[in-house]
């Protein structure tokens, strides 16, 4: 049953990703992106990571894709430049390279899964049932990964300052002129 669900979620995610890339309408692309991300959230649930799954939905459906859609709609950039021909030499080379990469990475991962012993972590179903997934995430954030967690706050601050620097330009000019 689990394996069927995996292929269901995974398959839809892949189809959604392809549709996102090949769609000419930016809004449709964004919606397919969301479909892919929600399906990946489904995969997280299969892996017992319910907290991550819900966080994924909240962050992407609630914020990122909504903002992407907002910007695309606001600029009226739904229909980008039309591509006259798909089958060019450049595109075929790119597709070929992508397929090569896909084969190589697929083989490597497959090989690892079936030849060497997979490494299992300490977080099992039983541990999650006992402690809850939120507690586990919180615990590792505040112990093992405290420094990256704190540095991430600097990262976010940089992002905010960056937006203000680039977006608040007019305001600064107004102020410099003494308005």
């Amino acid at each position: 049953m689990e394996i069927y669900l995996f292929f269901l979620f995974g398959g839809i995610a892949v189809v959604g990703a392809l549709a996102m890339v090949f769609n000419k309408n930016a809004v449709h692309s964004a919606l397919f992106l969301l479909l892919t991300l929600v399906m990946i959230a489904g995969l997280y649930v299969l892996l017992n990571a319910q907290f991550i799954a819900v966080a994924q939905i909240m962050v992407y459906a609630g914020a990122i894709v909504v903002l992407i859609l907002f910007v695309v709609m606001l600029l009226g950039a739904e229909l980008g430049e039309s591509i006259p021909r798909w089958l060019t030499l450049r595109n075929s080379v790119m597709v070929l390279l992508a397929l090569v990469f896909l084969t190589v990475s697929g083989t490597a991962v497959y090989d690892w899964l079936y030849s060497t012993q997979p490494i299992t972590g300490t977080v099992t179903d039983e541990v999650i049932a006992r402690q809850g997934s939120v507690q586990l995430v919180g615990e590792s954030l505040f112990t093992q990964f405290l420094l990256p967690f704190e540095l991430a706050s600097i990262l976010l601050l940089v992002g905010i300052i960056g937006v203000v620097v680039l977006g608040g330009w007019r305001l600064v000019q107004h102020r410099q002129r003494g308005e």
Binding site: M1, E2, L5, N25, V27, H28, L31, L34, V45, L46, N48, Q50, F51, V54, A55, I57, M58, A61, G62, A63, V65, V66, L67, L69, F70, M73, L74, D125, G132, S133, V134, E139
Partner: protein
């Protein structure tokens, strides 16, 4: 596989309530189907009843009688409206983007209905008790924004698009204080599970959270009303400005889905407020009744729950009857410059008080010392939080007044400068 059954199928089913002797596997599927049908039936019914109620209440506020012809108290008026809506022609505009246009309303309605999955409506009756309950509520609510945005854009109508823009800026902005208020509740309750939060609000452990955290409640409720997009935050529809906003091109059943979405979402907000701040189904005599008979105890709890929901529903309708609509810049200012910072300060203060009152325990091999005031117990914590909240409200008033005075003085100076 268990976790999937527990997490997805179990959302709408719980066989333990009536103590039915059923196979676990069969019960999951049967109850899932029952729950599914129940949700699909209850949602439109709720919409129908609530529209009637709203028309009646607003009529009273405006010194009218409201619908009174069809049936007793005009209650059949709502049924008639529903039938009218069902039989209307279903129009898809020529320039519309068909697929998002048709998915949008459904997405919005489903998002509202899904919230009920984690709400404990009576002792023993809950869709599923997730350990991340209130986080789930926020995540699912996000889909309604998406539904609105999709339908607003795909209608190919400028008013619809404007409505969708307003919807996004409003919903995204008000999500922030709402989530922080929810985090405050989670910190005080020590859990994100709605069931645990309900059970923590007994008299012994300090009573309902509305007494401990009136400010948190206020922030949460205002932000939630904005999130639903009801008056005075109904800028996304604003019929006097942008006709009807994002659903201007919709008719028939799809329009009905938007109505369902709005009213069920309002209901969900009322239910959530009742769960988080009024103790859910807690009330005098529930515990004893449950001990005597789980079924009748459940019914009593459910009645309490409905009453508490009713209070909030009434308040929302009261808002609509009395308050004028915000302007978009005022709305965003209110959200970002008042509610968000206030909710952050509130979270800090509440977390600090919780630490003061935390009983000592041993967990994961580490001994956690008790807070200095742990001996005061739950009631002491409630009183301290209440005092802190009142103080915070007082300080906020001072700050806001100072700002208002300054900006007013600036306005006077500007006028004086023009006159000179």
């Amino acid at each position: 596989m268990e976790q999937i059954i527990n997490w997805l199928a179990n959302i709408l089913s719980n066989a333990s309530w009536w103590g039915l002797p059923v196979e676990p596997a069969a019960s999951v599927i049967v109850w899932a189907v029952y729950g599914f049908i129940l949700a699909l039936v209850v949602a439109p019914m709720a919409m129908i009843v609530l529209t009637w109620l709203e028309r009646k209440i607003i009529a009273r506020i405006q010194d009218r009688i409201g619908p009174n012809r069809a049936g007793p108290f005009g209650i059949m008026q709502a049924m008639a409206d529903a039938i009218k809506m069902l039989t209307k022609e279903d129009i898809t505009p020529l320039g519309a983007d068909r697929i998002p246009f048709n998915i949008g309303p459904g997405l919005a309605a489903v998002a509202s209905i899904l919230i009920f999955a984690v709400l404990p409506v009576a002792p023993g009756l809950i869709g599923t008790d997730l350990s991340i309950g209130i986080f789930y509520v926020v995540a699912v609510g996000a889909f309604s924004i998406l539904g609105i945005l999709m339908s607003g854009w795909s209608s190919n109508n400028k008013y619809a698009l404007l409505g969708a823009f307003r919807a996004v800026s409003q919903l995204v902005s008000y999500e922030v204080p709402m989530v922080i208020a929810l985090i405050t509740v989670a910190v005080v309750a020590g859990s994100m599970s709605t069931l645990t939060i309900t059970e923590n609000q007994t008299l012994a452990s300090g009573g309902w959270y509305i007494f401990a955290m009136p400010l948190t409640f206020l922030i949460f409720f205002l932000a939630s009303v904005a999130e639903v997009g009801r008056s005075p935050f109904d800028l996304l529809e604003a019929d006097s400005e942008i006709v009807a906003g994002f659903h201007v091109e919709y008719s028939g059943l799809k329009f009905g889905l938007f109505m369902i979405s709005e009213y069920v979402h309002a209901l969900a907000v009322a239910a959530l407020s009742a769960t988080l701040f009024l103790g859910g189904w807690n009330g005098p005599g529930v515990a004893q009744a449950v001990a005597a008979s789980p079924f009748w105890g459940g019914v009593l709890g459910f009645v309490y729950y409905l009453l508490k929901m009713g209070i909030f529903i009434f308040i929302m309708m009261w808002f609509r009857g009395t308050l004028p609509r915000f302007r978009i810049d005022q709305l965003l200012d209110f959200g970002w410059k008042l509610l968000t910072p206030l909710s952050l300060v509130n979270l800090l203060v509440m977390a600090f008080i919780v630490r003061l009152f935390q009983p000592g325990n041993v967990s994961m091999g580490a001994e956690i010392p008790a807070g200095p005031l742990a001996s005061w117990g739950g009631i002491g914590q409630t009183i301290t939080m209440l005092v802190a909240s009142v103080l915070l409200v007082f300080l906020t008033t001072l700050v806001v007044r100072a700002f208002a005075r300054r900006s007013r003085a600036r306005g006077f100076r500007a006028i004086a400068a023009i006159e000179n």
